[in-house]
Amino acid sequence: MDPSRKFDRVADVAIDDGRIVEIAPRIAQKGRREVDARGLAVLPGFIDMHVHLREPGREDAETIETGTAAAARGGFTAVACMPNTQPVNDSEAVTTYILKRAREVSKIAVYPIGAITRGSRGETLAEIGEMVRAGIVAISDDGHPVSDGQVMRRALEYSRLFNLPVIDHCEDEALAAGGVVHEGYWSTKLGLRGISPAAEEVQVARDAILARQTGARIHIAHLSTRKSLETVTRARREGGVNLTCEVTPHHLLLTDERVAAYDTHAKMNPPLRGRDDVDALVEGIASGAVDVIATDHAPHTLGDKMLEFDRAPFGVVGLETAVSLVCDRFVRPGVIGLGRLAELFSLNPARILNLERGTLTPGAWADITVLDLGRQTEVRAATFASRGRNTPFEGWSLCGGPAMTVVRGKVVWSA
């Protein structure tokens, strides 16, 4: 299956020297190694364009080695890692360090994302050009919004020089008002400070306007409300904007009711929303309004998470559950097909990040995700390759998920 060229049939795939050489119904020539994928789905390699690998700085929570191992187990052949490390990836030196570590320890591709502003403080531009030279594929201050409209505008204008996507964490901090959960019945009932959906929606609207004015490429990270999605859809329908968005599996599957027992494994930013928002996001992945599913994989140590709810950090892990969750909840019931799945997890992230990936064309790198839609698994954080155990899906029984991850022709993980 390759949605990049509308290919969908039973076929053999021949790989040589890390690249796809031929895809045909029957390839007679004997291979050095053959993998029997009968009954499985062979898709272009999945890319998670929103992960936090924590290295450098918080290696106790995750490392490039453990994070990428988790990604391989989750069916991902590549990840793009956010710059909110310690130090922040706002310079060529940090970018280079991440890429060097990745070459040493990672079996999958790692694409660093650089900071928009120095220290992600939202004040002055980071040395974007130097980071591009070192290998970043996008810029983002993820974890923080770029609150100052003028700074955002400058960053957008500047990014055009490199055709670089700007990934924005949309949150009006004044409106968010130190909230820790979605503002609504549950925040009221639990006595937790609520984050108004307007905090996100106001900035998505601002970004849509700035995207039009500057002509730059904006990708909205972890979009979580119906209104945000409507804003993106409306701007795109009007034309003349380069605006894309991603949603996370947890925003597609959980509502704010999940925080009822003050479980910090359900605390993330943006927060879990209400039923109506969740429904809108699910409609969005089916209709094409949503471009990408990304995990926002945010590992934290248990010690950091086992705190009072309002003091615990935001974030959940997702690399090892995302594909299985989407297969079980959306592909098997027919909400989306395999072609759409490949767009959400492979083709679209590749296009947004300008990667020569997301396709199974002869000549392309042989990055392949093999899915087994009949495979039964149960989410057990204790068995994760990731150091992060902070999943809200513990104990979920899932049917369907990754069976094999192939990077440049090499099987880096198989079930």
């Binding site: 009221t188 006595g191 027992a261 705190l307 009072e308």
Partner: protein, 316 residues
């Protein structure tokens, strides 16, 4: 046989109508103890109670302490200032250290909503929530209910108006849940900036107009307004606040004859309540304080056999 089915008292939400009735009946029976010459009974002899207060609180803490002493419990007081919390120890570490001292009951007051839940899930001891952030203050609601029931003979069918800063008030939440559960008609009233989202779903009618809330009310409960709210742009000024939401004698005329006035304290005279109202004979603010001890004795008594039960999750 009478007992609360759960190990902990974390919220009004977890209590059934029968549970609430049981606490109130038990508290009523225990009021007699505080009227004795020797105000002490041996019901909790040999039991250890830890008072874990992460927020300054004179009233609630004294009330709990007195209740514990009247039941002959051994008491350990542990407050944020004297604790290792300032040294960066987490709540769970603190709790586990205390747990090692084998207390039977831990009474906790904490600025974070849900902190007692965290403790309850991790500890064998029974945990009593003495106020957690903006979440709940169950013993306050129970003592309010005891006070109202003593004065009015019932809770069902009464109109209760809770007035003030609903957003930041755990008392408003617990009282709303309790009185609604017991069949009273609950109204909450305050400036729209201080009414949290979807509050009506907790079982209250919501209004911004005090006259509407007070009209025909049997009970008027005033909440404290923190001075900070002015700086945080919730209200323009305390003066305007009093004009719109302060309880004056004149406003009380809208309430039912024989209506009573309550306040969980500490009061801001002249901000949310006129002095003359606070001191009037229909004010039962001091009865609330007296009932607080009996209510907390009842809760401690009813929970004192439950430590070691499986940690209870809150029912929804």
């Amino acid at each position: 046989m009478a007992s609360l089915s759960q190990k902990d008292l974390l919220s009004i939400e977890q209590l059934s109508v029968d549970d609430i009735g049981l606490v109130l009946d038990t508290a009523e029976a225990l009021r007699e103890v505080s009227a004795r010459a020797v105000k002490k009974v041996p019901a909790l002899r040999g039991k250890t109670v830890i008072n874990l207060f992460f927020e300054p609180s004179t009233r609630t803490r004294s009330s709990f302490e007195l209740a514990e002493k009247r039941l002959s419990a051994d008491i350990l007081n542990f407050s944020a200032s004297s604790s290792s919390v300032t040294k960066g120890e987490t709540l769970l570490d603190t709790a586990r250290n205390l747990e090692a001292m084998a207390p039977d009951i831990i009474v906790i007051r904490h600025a974070s909503a849900g902190a007692p839940h965290l403790l309850g899930t991790e500890c064998r001891s029974s945990v009593v929530n003495a106020g957690d952030g903006m979440h709940e203050h169950p013993t306050q609601a129970l003592l309010d209910a005891l006070t109202v029931r003593s004065m009015k003979g019932r809770l069902e069918g009464l109109k209760l108006a809770i007035i003030g800063d609903i957003s930041h008030s755990r008392v408003a939440r617990s009282d709303t849940l309790l009185f609604h559960k017991m069949g009273a008609e609950v109204w909450v009233c305050g400036p729209p900036t201080l009414i949290p989202a979807d509050f009506h779903l907790l079982g209250a009618r919501v209004t911004g107009f005090m006259e509407e809330a007070i009209e025909g009310a049997d009970v008027v409960m005033m909440l404290r307004l923190q001075n900070e709210r002015q700086n945080e742009a919730f209200i323009p000024s305390t003066r305007e606040y009093f004009n719109l939401y302060g309880l004056s004698r004149e406003r009380m005329r809208g309430a039912r004859k024989n209506a009573i006035v309550m306040h969980p304290g500490p009061m801001n005279r002249g901000v949310e309540i006129e002095s003359e109202v606070a001191d009037a004979d229909y004010s039962v603010i001091l009865d609330q304080v007296a009932n607080g001890v009996a209510t907390r004795m009842a809760v401690l008594y009813l929970l004192s056999g439950n430590s070691g039960l499986k940690p209870g999750r809150e029912s929804r």
